[in-house]
């Protein structure tokens, strides 16, 4: 759910691995991010509407990933996938680290790219970069 940069990249990887992938987004334009040879299903619809989730066959899904721009939308859709449709694995992106912690405590599999990104940047700053080989620098 959510065909932004992350959603599209993830869908592409899963599709290449041979999984049956359905991508859901409220804006039809979003599917332009998918490669032309994407074999999965593209569905335009609101991911926090349980009728839409039923229509895309969520009850038969092995996993659900919510990566829209809205933390709350992701939280609501993930909980519907888990509690209404009984999806075994549900992953939820939450930008706000505090909300991420709260919903992690409530039993969702959550990820906060904000915190991870900040930690990675800090790690990069803390360590000196390896000196560049000259040939590489020219290229």
């Amino acid at each position: 759910m959510g065909c932004g940069r992350v959603g599209a990249a993830l869908a592409k990887m899963l599709d290449a691995d041979g999984h049956d992938v359905t991508v859901l987004d409220i804006r039809p334009d979003a599917f332009k991010r998918l490669p032309v040879d994407f074999k999965g299903v593209k569905h335009v619809g609101n991911g926090i509407d349980q009728d839409v989730l039923a229509r895309v066959g969520l009850a038969d899904a092995d996993a659900f990933v919510a990566v829209t721009q809205g933390d709350n939308r992701n939280v609501m859709a993930t909980q519907m996938a888990k509690h209404l449709f009984g999806v075994r694995r549900t992953l939820c992106r939450i930008y706000d680290p505090i909300r991420e912690e709260i919903y992690g405590d409530l039993g969702l599999e959550t990820i906060s790219p904000t915190l991870i990104g900040a930690m990675m940047l800090k790690g990069m700053l803390d360590s000196e970069p390896a000196p560049k080989v000259e040939a590489e620098a020219e290229a």
């Binding site: 509407d49 349980q50 009728d51 409530l106």
Partner: protein
């Protein structure tokens, strides 16, 4: 009670106003992101607005969610109202949470996720409509010129007490006349006094405009219901 209202749109604004005017003397705080809406609350209702994102823990902290007796989330978005109430419960142990929902189908999942009360304007209006509309409507086909007569159509439900009766036996309203019957497989019959009414017949009748309800009642009431239509 200390009551926090999240969202100062039309619902939130009037809710806060009513709560302030209530004789119980509630302490009310309104959280709103939009500066203009906040300003309106402050101007009209006093210094009870807090500008911020009601879904963010920092705002909730500042608003004093920890000592709130009740949190009412009435933004226009179901997902925001859900998160406000869930975080209020999980992090601040607010005893009572109320969420406004737009999609009535969200009611059960909200309950399941721990929201104490959901309020849906959509569901409330639907309930009104179902109360007002008879299950088997009288369809107005044609208003006859002058004389206050019209041609209407009524479908006879399986449960109707007129099923199996002859038209001659029916107590129709004054100046009502059954002119045509189309049975359930689409065959039209010109009815006479001995014609028997069958379940699912489409009955076309001429009636006085003011007798429409009574005619519908005769043709659709089940044996137990009163004369003027069965309402559910």
């Amino acid at each position: 009670m200390y009551i926090i209202v999240v969202g100062a749109g039309k619902v939130g604004y009037y809710l806060a106003k009513e709560l302030l005017e209530a004789p119980e003397g509630h302490e009310v705080l309104v959280i709103e992101q939009d500066a203009a809406k906040c300003e309106r609350v402050t101007q009209e209702l006093g210094d009870i607005a807090l500008r911020g994102d009601g879904c963010e823990a920092a705002t909730m902290e500042k608003a004093g969610f920890g000592r709130a007796d009740m949190v009412i989330a009435v933004t226009g978005d179901d997902e925001d109202n859900l998160v406000v109430c869930q975080v209020a419960k999980a992090r601040f142990s607010v005893p009572r949470t109320v969420a406004r929902i737009n999609n009535p189908k969200n009611e059960s999942i909200f309950k399941r996720l721990g929201i104490d009360t959901t309020v849906s304007a959509t569901a409330a209006i639907l309930a009104q409509i179902e109360q007002e509309l008879p299950t088997h409507p009288l369809i107005h086909l044609l208003q006859l010129k002058g004389g206050g007569l019209e041609i209407v159509e009524v479908k006879v439900p399986k449960s109707a007490s007129v099923v199996g009766q002859r038209i001659g036996e029916l107590l129709l309203p004054q100046q009502s006349l059954i002119t045509l019957i189309v049975d359930s497989d689409g065959t039209p019959r010109v009815p006479g006094n001995d014609t028997v009414i069958r379940a699912e017949d489409q009955v076309v009748a001429v009636t006085r405009t003011e007798s429409g309800d009574a005619l519908r009642g005769v043709l659709t009431n089940s044996a137990s219901a009163g004369a003027y239509g069965r309402r559910q």
